[in-house]
Protein backbone atom coordinates (compact mmCIF):
# COMPACT_ATOMS: atom_id res chain seq x y z
CA UNK A 1 0.00 0.00 0.00
CA UNK A 2 2.93 2.33 0.56
CA UNK A 3 4.09 2.15 -3.02
CA UNK A 4 3.72 5.31 -5.00
CA UNK A 5 1.66 5.97 -8.09
CA UNK A 6 2.60 8.78 -10.48
CA UNK A 7 -0.47 10.55 -11.85
CA UNK A 8 -0.88 13.33 -14.35
CA UNK A 9 -3.40 15.99 -13.43
CA UNK A 10 -6.12 16.63 -14.36
CA UNK A 11 -7.23 13.00 -14.57
CA UNK A 12 -10.36 11.14 -15.67
CA UNK A 13 -13.11 9.49 -13.64
CA UNK A 14 -11.55 6.17 -14.69
CA UNK A 15 -8.26 7.08 -13.01
CA UNK A 16 -10.15 8.36 -9.96
CA UNK A 17 -11.88 4.97 -9.67
CA UNK A 18 -8.53 3.15 -9.64
CA UNK A 19 -7.25 5.03 -6.60
CA UNK A 20 -7.45 3.28 -3.25
CA UNK A 21 -7.66 4.83 0.21
CA UNK A 22 -4.20 4.77 1.80
CA UNK A 23 -2.36 4.76 -1.52
CA UNK A 24 0.40 7.28 -2.00
CA UNK A 25 0.40 9.38 -5.17
CA UNK A 26 2.70 11.90 -6.81
CA UNK A 27 0.85 14.47 -8.90
CA UNK A 28 2.32 16.16 -11.95
CA UNK A 29 0.43 18.70 -14.02
CA UNK A 30 -2.04 21.43 -13.16
CA UNK A 31 -4.62 21.99 -10.47
CA UNK A 32 -6.46 24.92 -8.92
CA UNK A 33 -6.30 26.40 -5.44
CA UNK A 34 -9.35 27.76 -3.63
CA UNK A 35 -10.43 28.01 0.00
CA UNK A 36 -13.07 29.61 2.22
CA UNK A 37 -14.02 32.88 0.54
CA UNK A 38 -13.59 31.58 -3.01
CA UNK A 39 -15.92 28.69 -2.16
CA UNK A 40 -18.53 31.11 -0.87
CA UNK A 41 -18.38 32.94 -4.18
CA UNK A 42 -18.51 29.70 -6.20
CA UNK A 43 -21.65 28.72 -4.30
CA UNK A 44 -23.29 32.09 -4.99
CA UNK A 45 -22.51 31.87 -8.71
CA UNK A 46 -23.74 28.29 -9.02
CA UNK A 47 -26.92 29.06 -7.03
CA UNK A 48 -27.75 31.76 -9.58
CA UNK A 49 -27.09 29.41 -12.47
CA UNK A 50 -24.00 31.40 -13.52
CA UNK A 51 -20.60 30.31 -14.83
CA UNK A 52 -17.60 30.00 -12.49
CA UNK A 53 -14.72 32.35 -13.36
CA UNK A 54 -12.62 29.32 -14.31
CA UNK A 55 -13.89 26.03 -15.70
CA UNK A 56 -13.31 23.56 -12.87
CA UNK A 57 -15.01 20.58 -14.51
CA UNK A 58 -12.69 17.60 -14.42
CA UNK A 59 -10.18 19.52 -12.29
CA UNK A 60 -8.72 19.14 -8.82
CA UNK A 61 -9.18 21.86 -6.21
CA UNK A 62 -6.44 22.30 -3.62
CA UNK A 63 -7.57 24.00 -0.39
CA UNK A 64 -4.65 26.34 0.12
CA UNK A 65 -3.72 29.92 0.89
CA UNK A 66 -0.01 30.24 0.10
CA UNK A 67 2.42 32.68 1.67
CA UNK A 68 3.80 35.35 -0.69
CA UNK A 69 6.64 34.01 -2.86
CA UNK A 70 10.12 35.29 -2.15
CA UNK A 71 11.80 36.75 -5.24
CA UNK A 72 13.14 33.89 -7.32
CA UNK A 73 10.68 31.35 -5.86
CA UNK A 74 7.64 30.10 -7.82
CA UNK A 75 5.49 30.00 -4.71
CA UNK A 76 5.71 30.51 -0.97
CA UNK A 77 4.84 27.87 1.62
CA UNK A 78 1.75 26.11 0.34
CA UNK A 79 0.47 23.27 2.49
CA UNK A 80 -3.17 22.20 2.71
CA UNK A 81 -5.77 23.80 4.97
CA UNK A 82 -8.47 21.96 6.95
CA UNK A 83 -11.09 20.57 4.58
CA UNK A 84 -14.07 20.44 6.92
CA UNK A 85 -14.78 24.14 6.51
CA UNK A 86 -15.55 23.51 2.84
CA UNK A 87 -17.88 20.53 3.51
CA UNK A 88 -20.96 22.67 2.93
CA UNK A 89 -19.80 23.57 -0.59
CA UNK A 90 -18.17 20.35 -1.79
CA UNK A 91 -21.19 18.22 -2.84
CA UNK A 92 -22.40 21.05 -5.08
CA UNK A 93 -18.96 21.40 -6.69
CA UNK A 94 -18.62 17.66 -7.24
CA UNK A 95 -22.09 17.65 -8.83
CA UNK A 96 -20.90 20.49 -11.10
CA UNK A 97 -18.00 18.29 -12.21
CA UNK A 98 -14.94 18.86 -10.03
CA UNK A 99 -12.92 15.61 -10.11
CA UNK A 100 -11.40 15.79 -6.69
CA UNK A 101 -10.06 17.71 -3.74
CA UNK A 102 -6.61 18.01 -2.20
CA UNK A 103 -6.58 19.17 1.43
CA UNK A 104 -6.25 17.69 4.92
CA UNK A 105 -8.58 16.43 7.62
CA UNK A 106 -11.73 14.35 7.55
CA UNK A 107 -14.92 15.03 5.59
CA UNK A 108 -18.62 14.91 6.46
CA UNK A 109 -20.84 11.94 5.53
CA UNK A 110 -22.46 14.19 2.91
CA UNK A 111 -19.12 14.83 1.21
CA UNK A 112 -18.19 11.13 1.32
CA UNK A 113 -21.54 10.25 -0.29
CA UNK A 114 -20.94 12.85 -3.01
CA UNK A 115 -17.43 11.49 -3.66
CA UNK A 116 -18.97 8.05 -4.26
CA UNK A 117 -21.80 9.40 -6.36
CA UNK A 118 -19.62 11.43 -8.71
CA UNK A 119 -16.56 9.14 -8.98
CA UNK A 120 -14.45 11.75 -7.31
CA UNK A 121 -11.53 11.39 -4.94
CA UNK A 122 -10.19 13.18 -1.88
CA UNK A 123 -6.42 13.40 -1.59
CA UNK A 124 -4.61 14.51 1.56
CA UNK A 125 -1.37 16.46 1.43
CA UNK A 126 0.74 16.68 4.58
CA UNK A 127 -0.54 19.47 6.79
CA UNK A 128 2.23 21.67 8.09
CA UNK A 129 4.69 20.70 5.38
CA UNK A 130 4.23 23.97 3.48
CA UNK A 131 7.92 24.56 2.80
CA UNK A 132 8.46 21.03 1.48
CA UNK A 133 5.37 21.17 -0.74
CA UNK A 134 6.40 24.55 -2.16
CA UNK A 135 9.34 22.77 -3.80
CA UNK A 136 6.89 20.75 -5.92
CA UNK A 137 5.12 23.87 -7.18
CA UNK A 138 6.75 25.07 -10.39
CA UNK A 139 4.31 27.82 -11.23
CA UNK A 140 1.63 29.66 -9.28
CA UNK A 141 -0.66 32.39 -10.56
CA UNK A 142 -3.91 33.95 -9.48
CA UNK A 143 -6.66 32.69 -11.79
CA UNK A 144 -9.68 34.54 -10.33
CA UNK A 145 -10.85 36.76 -7.46
CA UNK A 146 -7.52 38.63 -7.04
CA UNK A 147 -9.19 40.88 -4.44
CA UNK A 148 -9.20 37.91 -2.06
CA UNK A 149 -5.40 37.95 -1.73
CA UNK A 150 -4.16 34.60 -0.46
CA UNK A 151 -7.78 33.34 -0.64
CA UNK A 152 -7.97 33.94 -4.40
CA UNK A 153 -8.41 31.13 -6.93
CA UNK A 154 -4.91 29.93 -7.90
CA UNK A 155 -3.64 27.86 -10.76
CA UNK A 156 -0.63 25.72 -9.95
CA UNK A 157 1.72 23.72 -12.11
CA UNK A 158 3.26 20.96 -10.01
CA UNK A 159 5.79 18.20 -10.33
CA UNK A 160 5.71 15.09 -8.14
CA UNK A 161 3.44 16.74 -5.59
CA UNK A 162 3.00 14.11 -2.84
CA UNK A 163 -0.41 13.18 -1.48
CA UNK A 164 -2.23 10.25 0.07
CA UNK A 165 -5.61 8.96 -1.09
CA UNK A 166 -7.74 9.79 1.95
CA UNK A 167 -11.24 9.02 0.61
CA UNK A 168 -11.52 6.94 -2.56
CA UNK A 169 -14.33 6.86 -5.08
CA UNK A 170 -15.81 3.86 -3.24
CA UNK A 171 -16.17 5.97 -0.12
CA UNK A 172 -13.42 4.22 1.83
CA UNK A 173 -12.09 6.70 4.36
CA UNK A 174 -8.49 6.54 5.57
CA UNK A 175 -9.41 8.78 8.52
CA UNK A 176 -11.63 5.92 9.74
CA UNK A 177 -9.66 2.89 8.57
CA UNK A 178 -6.19 4.14 9.58
CA UNK A 179 -6.82 5.06 13.24
CA UNK A 180 -9.01 1.95 13.77
CA UNK A 181 -5.94 -0.19 13.20
CA UNK A 182 -3.95 1.55 15.91
CA UNK A 183 -6.65 2.23 18.47
CA UNK A 184 -5.92 0.48 21.75
CA UNK A 185 -8.69 1.78 23.99
CA UNK A 186 -11.99 0.17 24.96
Amino acid sequence: MDECRHIETPFSAEVARELQAGQRVLLTGAFYGARDQAHRRFAEVLAQGGELPVDLRGQLIYYVGPTPARPGHACGAAGPTTAGRMDAFTPQLLAYGVRGIIAKGDRSPGVIAAIRQYDAVYLAATGGAGALLSHCIKEARVAAFPDLGTEAVWRFIVEDFPATVAIDSWGRDLYQIGPAGYRSVQ
Binding site: G65, T67, D106, G127, G128, A131, T164
Partner: protein, 285 residues
Protein backbone atom coordinates in the same frame (compact mmCIF):
# COMPACT_ATOMS: atom_id res chain seq x y z
CA UNK B 1 14.53 54.60 36.12
CA UNK B 2 15.66 52.43 33.23
CA UNK B 3 14.15 53.29 29.85
CA UNK B 4 13.32 51.12 26.87
CA UNK B 5 12.32 52.67 23.56
CA UNK B 6 9.38 51.25 21.64
CA UNK B 7 11.37 51.50 18.39
CA UNK B 8 13.68 48.76 19.66
CA UNK B 9 10.68 46.66 20.71
CA UNK B 10 9.07 47.05 17.25
CA UNK B 11 12.31 46.02 15.52
CA UNK B 12 12.65 43.00 17.79
CA UNK B 13 9.05 41.94 17.26
CA UNK B 14 9.57 42.11 13.48
CA UNK B 15 12.55 39.77 13.80
CA UNK B 16 10.78 37.44 16.24
CA UNK B 17 7.79 37.02 13.88
CA UNK B 18 10.12 35.91 11.11
CA UNK B 19 12.37 33.67 13.18
CA UNK B 20 9.37 31.97 14.80
CA UNK B 21 7.88 31.17 11.38
CA UNK B 22 11.09 29.97 9.72
CA UNK B 23 12.45 27.70 12.43
CA UNK B 24 10.86 25.25 14.84
CA UNK B 25 12.18 25.43 18.41
CA UNK B 26 14.86 22.83 19.29
CA UNK B 27 12.54 21.03 21.74
CA UNK B 28 9.90 20.58 19.02
CA UNK B 29 12.49 19.20 16.58
CA UNK B 30 13.71 16.81 19.28
CA UNK B 31 10.14 15.70 19.98
CA UNK B 32 9.50 15.06 16.27
CA UNK B 33 12.69 13.02 15.98
CA UNK B 34 11.67 11.07 19.09
CA UNK B 35 8.22 10.46 17.63
CA UNK B 36 9.81 8.81 14.60
CA UNK B 37 11.49 6.26 16.88
CA UNK B 38 8.22 5.58 18.64
CA UNK B 39 5.85 5.43 15.66
CA UNK B 40 4.93 1.93 14.50
CA UNK B 41 2.95 2.96 11.42
CA UNK B 42 5.02 3.12 8.20
CA UNK B 43 2.76 5.90 6.88
CA UNK B 44 3.16 7.72 10.19
CA UNK B 45 6.94 7.45 10.01
CA UNK B 46 6.91 8.76 6.46
CA UNK B 47 4.85 11.76 7.55
CA UNK B 48 7.26 12.44 10.43
CA UNK B 49 10.17 12.24 7.98
CA UNK B 50 8.41 14.82 5.80
CA UNK B 51 7.87 17.10 8.77
CA UNK B 52 11.56 16.94 9.77
CA UNK B 53 12.62 17.58 6.15
CA UNK B 54 10.12 20.43 5.95
CA UNK B 55 11.59 22.09 9.04
CA UNK B 56 15.07 21.85 7.49
CA UNK B 57 13.95 23.44 4.22
CA UNK B 58 12.10 26.21 6.05
CA UNK B 59 15.12 27.11 8.15
CA UNK B 60 17.63 27.06 5.30
CA UNK B 61 15.48 28.92 2.75
CA UNK B 62 13.77 31.22 5.24
CA UNK B 63 10.38 30.05 4.05
CA UNK B 64 7.61 29.53 6.61
CA UNK B 65 7.33 26.06 8.10
CA UNK B 66 3.59 26.26 7.42
CA UNK B 67 1.64 28.55 5.09
CA UNK B 68 -0.64 29.35 8.01
CA UNK B 69 1.72 31.83 9.58
CA UNK B 70 -0.98 32.44 12.11
CA UNK B 71 -2.51 35.21 14.10
CA UNK B 72 0.19 36.59 16.37
CA UNK B 73 -0.05 36.22 20.13
CA UNK B 74 2.32 38.40 22.13
CA UNK B 75 2.96 37.61 25.79
CA UNK B 76 4.59 40.62 27.40
CA UNK B 77 6.18 40.75 30.83
CA UNK B 78 7.29 44.21 31.72
CA UNK B 79 9.03 45.20 34.92
CA UNK B 80 7.12 47.67 37.10
CA UNK B 81 10.30 49.71 37.47
CA UNK B 82 10.89 49.98 33.73
CA UNK B 83 9.87 53.07 31.79
CA UNK B 84 8.72 52.40 28.24
CA UNK B 85 9.36 55.48 26.10
CA UNK B 86 8.70 56.46 22.50
CA UNK B 87 4.93 56.06 22.31
CA UNK B 88 2.34 53.33 22.70
CA UNK B 89 3.71 49.86 23.44
CA UNK B 90 0.76 48.11 21.82
CA UNK B 91 1.17 50.19 18.68
CA UNK B 92 4.88 49.36 18.61
CA UNK B 93 4.18 45.64 18.86
CA UNK B 94 1.68 45.87 16.01
CA UNK B 95 4.11 47.93 13.96
CA UNK B 96 6.67 45.16 14.47
CA UNK B 97 4.18 42.49 13.44
CA UNK B 98 3.29 44.39 10.25
CA UNK B 99 6.95 44.86 9.37
CA UNK B 100 7.88 41.26 10.14
CA UNK B 101 5.03 39.86 8.05
CA UNK B 102 5.83 42.17 5.15
CA UNK B 103 9.61 41.73 5.14
CA UNK B 104 9.45 38.00 5.82
CA UNK B 105 6.97 37.19 3.03
CA UNK B 106 4.61 35.80 5.64
CA UNK B 107 0.93 35.31 5.00
CA UNK B 108 -1.49 37.96 6.14
CA UNK B 109 -4.28 35.94 7.69
CA UNK B 110 -6.17 38.48 9.80
CA UNK B 111 -9.51 39.96 8.76
CA UNK B 112 -10.85 43.31 9.99
CA UNK B 113 -14.02 41.90 11.43
CA UNK B 114 -15.32 38.38 11.87
CA UNK B 115 -18.43 38.87 9.75
CA UNK B 116 -17.32 40.95 6.76
CA UNK B 117 -13.93 39.25 6.56
CA UNK B 118 -11.89 41.88 4.72
CA UNK B 119 -8.17 41.27 5.25
CA UNK B 120 -6.29 43.88 7.30
CA UNK B 121 -3.39 43.42 4.88
CA UNK B 122 -0.58 43.36 7.43
CA UNK B 123 -1.54 40.56 9.84
CA UNK B 124 -2.33 43.02 12.62
CA UNK B 125 -3.65 43.36 15.19
CA UNK B 126 -1.82 40.90 17.40
CA UNK B 127 -3.52 39.49 20.49
CA UNK B 128 -1.42 40.96 23.28
CA UNK B 129 -1.30 39.90 26.94
CA UNK B 130 0.48 42.07 29.49
CA UNK B 131 1.87 41.04 32.83
CA UNK B 132 3.45 43.57 35.16
CA UNK B 133 6.24 41.89 37.09
CA UNK B 134 8.80 43.06 39.68
CA UNK B 135 12.07 44.51 38.40
CA UNK B 136 13.03 46.51 35.32
CA UNK B 137 13.45 43.89 32.61
CA UNK B 138 11.26 43.37 29.55
CA UNK B 139 10.30 40.08 28.00
CA UNK B 140 8.13 39.32 24.99
CA UNK B 141 7.19 35.92 23.57
CA UNK B 142 5.77 35.88 20.05
CA UNK B 143 3.60 32.91 19.12
CA UNK B 144 2.13 32.73 15.61
CA UNK B 145 -0.92 30.48 16.09
CA UNK B 146 -2.44 28.69 13.13
CA UNK B 147 -6.18 28.21 13.06
CA UNK B 148 -6.34 24.56 12.00
CA UNK B 149 -5.47 23.81 15.59
CA UNK B 150 -7.02 26.91 17.18
CA UNK B 151 -10.42 25.88 15.80
CA UNK B 152 -10.18 22.68 17.87
CA UNK B 153 -10.20 24.57 21.20
CA UNK B 154 -12.60 23.27 23.85
CA UNK B 155 -13.87 24.73 27.11
CA UNK B 156 -15.71 22.71 29.73
CA UNK B 157 -17.29 24.22 32.82
CA UNK B 158 -17.29 20.95 34.75
CA UNK B 159 -18.85 20.37 38.15
CA UNK B 160 -16.51 20.00 41.11
CA UNK B 161 -17.95 16.48 41.55
CA UNK B 162 -16.71 15.57 38.05
CA UNK B 163 -13.20 15.66 39.52
CA UNK B 164 -10.14 14.10 37.99
CA UNK B 165 -12.14 11.54 36.01
CA UNK B 166 -14.21 14.30 34.43
CA UNK B 167 -11.14 16.31 33.49
CA UNK B 168 -9.47 13.26 31.99
CA UNK B 169 -12.55 12.40 29.95
CA UNK B 170 -13.02 15.97 28.73
CA UNK B 171 -9.43 16.37 27.52
CA UNK B 172 -9.33 13.01 25.75
CA UNK B 173 -12.72 13.67 24.10
CA UNK B 174 -11.52 17.08 22.86
CA UNK B 175 -8.45 15.56 21.19
CA UNK B 176 -10.47 12.70 19.75
CA UNK B 177 -13.06 15.08 18.33
CA UNK B 178 -10.27 17.18 16.80
CA UNK B 179 -8.96 14.07 15.03
CA UNK B 180 -6.86 14.90 11.99
CA UNK B 181 -7.85 18.58 11.87
CA UNK B 182 -5.20 20.16 14.12
CA UNK B 183 -2.36 18.41 12.19
CA UNK B 184 -1.21 15.71 14.61
CA UNK B 185 1.14 14.94 16.22
CA UNK B 186 -0.09 17.77 18.41
CA UNK B 187 0.87 19.44 21.64
CA UNK B 188 -2.10 19.58 23.99
CA UNK B 189 -2.30 22.61 26.26
CA UNK B 190 -4.66 22.20 29.20
CA UNK B 191 -5.85 24.95 31.53
CA UNK B 192 -7.40 23.90 34.82
CA UNK B 193 -9.23 26.24 37.16
CA UNK B 194 -9.64 30.00 37.30
CA UNK B 195 -12.62 31.39 35.40
CA UNK B 196 -13.64 30.39 31.88
CA UNK B 197 -11.35 32.97 30.25
CA UNK B 198 -8.50 32.24 32.66
CA UNK B 199 -8.67 28.51 31.91
CA UNK B 200 -8.39 29.22 28.17
CA UNK B 201 -5.42 31.50 28.70
CA UNK B 202 -3.71 28.90 30.92
CA UNK B 203 -4.19 26.32 28.18
CA UNK B 204 -2.59 28.65 25.65
CA UNK B 205 0.30 29.54 27.95
CA UNK B 206 0.90 25.85 28.66
CA UNK B 207 1.96 25.52 25.01
CA UNK B 208 4.88 27.88 25.65
CA UNK B 209 6.42 25.63 28.27
CA UNK B 210 9.44 23.66 27.06
CA UNK B 211 8.25 20.29 25.75
CA UNK B 212 8.88 17.45 28.11
CA UNK B 213 9.29 19.71 31.15
CA UNK B 214 6.54 18.33 33.39
CA UNK B 215 4.43 20.51 35.64
CA UNK B 216 6.33 20.90 38.97
CA UNK B 217 3.21 19.69 40.80
CA UNK B 218 3.55 15.90 40.99
CA UNK B 219 -0.20 15.24 40.65
CA UNK B 220 -0.39 17.39 37.53
CA UNK B 221 2.80 15.84 36.14
CA UNK B 222 1.26 12.40 36.60
CA UNK B 223 -1.93 13.57 34.88
CA UNK B 224 0.08 14.96 31.95
CA UNK B 225 1.82 11.65 31.49
CA UNK B 226 -1.39 9.63 31.87
CA UNK B 227 -3.26 11.83 29.38
CA UNK B 228 -0.47 11.56 26.83
CA UNK B 229 -0.61 7.77 27.01
CA UNK B 230 -4.42 7.78 26.73
CA UNK B 231 -4.38 10.19 23.78
CA UNK B 232 -1.78 8.14 21.95
CA UNK B 233 -3.94 5.06 22.48
CA UNK B 234 -6.66 6.74 20.36
CA UNK B 235 -4.71 5.69 17.28
CA UNK B 236 -5.20 8.98 15.40
CA UNK B 237 -1.49 9.15 14.50
CA UNK B 238 0.46 11.59 12.32
CA UNK B 239 -1.94 13.54 10.06
CA UNK B 240 -4.79 11.35 11.35
CA UNK B 241 -3.83 8.44 9.07
CA UNK B 242 -3.48 6.08 12.05
CA UNK B 243 -0.54 5.54 14.32
CA UNK B 244 0.85 5.55 17.81
CA UNK B 245 1.96 9.15 18.10
CA UNK B 246 -0.95 11.57 18.30
CA UNK B 247 0.43 13.84 21.04
CA UNK B 248 4.04 14.94 21.38
CA UNK B 249 3.20 16.27 24.84
CA UNK B 250 0.36 17.20 27.17
CA UNK B 251 1.08 20.29 29.24
CA UNK B 252 -1.18 21.41 32.07
CA UNK B 253 -1.27 24.76 33.87
CA UNK B 254 -3.53 25.23 36.88
CA UNK B 255 -4.91 28.14 38.91
CA UNK B 256 -7.17 28.41 41.96
CA UNK B 257 -10.87 28.34 41.15
CA UNK B 258 -14.30 28.93 42.69
CA UNK B 259 -16.03 26.51 45.08
CA UNK B 260 -18.75 25.95 42.49
CA UNK B 261 -16.60 25.30 39.45
CA UNK B 262 -14.05 23.14 37.68
CA UNK B 263 -13.16 24.93 34.43
CA UNK B 264 -11.06 22.91 32.01
CA UNK B 265 -9.80 24.27 28.72
CA UNK B 266 -7.98 22.50 25.90
CA UNK B 267 -5.92 24.50 23.41
CA UNK B 268 -4.14 22.40 20.83
CA UNK B 269 -1.06 23.25 18.80
CA UNK B 270 -0.19 21.48 15.60
CA UNK B 271 3.25 19.87 15.35
CA UNK B 272 4.51 23.24 14.08
CA UNK B 273 4.50 24.77 17.56
CA UNK B 274 6.16 28.11 16.83
CA UNK B 275 7.30 30.71 19.31
CA UNK B 276 10.26 32.97 19.91
CA UNK B 277 11.17 35.09 22.93
CA UNK B 278 13.24 38.23 23.44
CA UNK B 279 14.42 39.27 26.87
CA UNK B 280 15.83 42.75 27.48
CA UNK B 281 17.80 43.29 30.65
CA UNK B 282 19.15 46.75 30.06
CA UNK B 283 21.83 46.08 27.49
CA UNK B 284 21.93 48.42 24.55
CA UNK B 285 21.84 46.69 21.22
Amino acid sequence: MRELNTDLIAARVAALCQEANFGLPADVLTALAGAKEQEGSPTGRRILDELCANAGIAASERVPVCQDTGMVLAFVETGQDLHIVGGSLSEAINRGVAQGYRDGYLRKSVVVDPLHRVNTGDNTPAVIYYDIVPGDNFRIAIMPKGFGSENCTALGMLKPADGLAGVRQFVIAAVERAGANPCPPVVVGVGLGGTADKALLLAKRALLRPLGASNPDTDLAALESELKTAINALGIGPEGFGGQVTALAVQIEAFPTHIAGLPVAVNISCHALRHKTWVWNGEQD
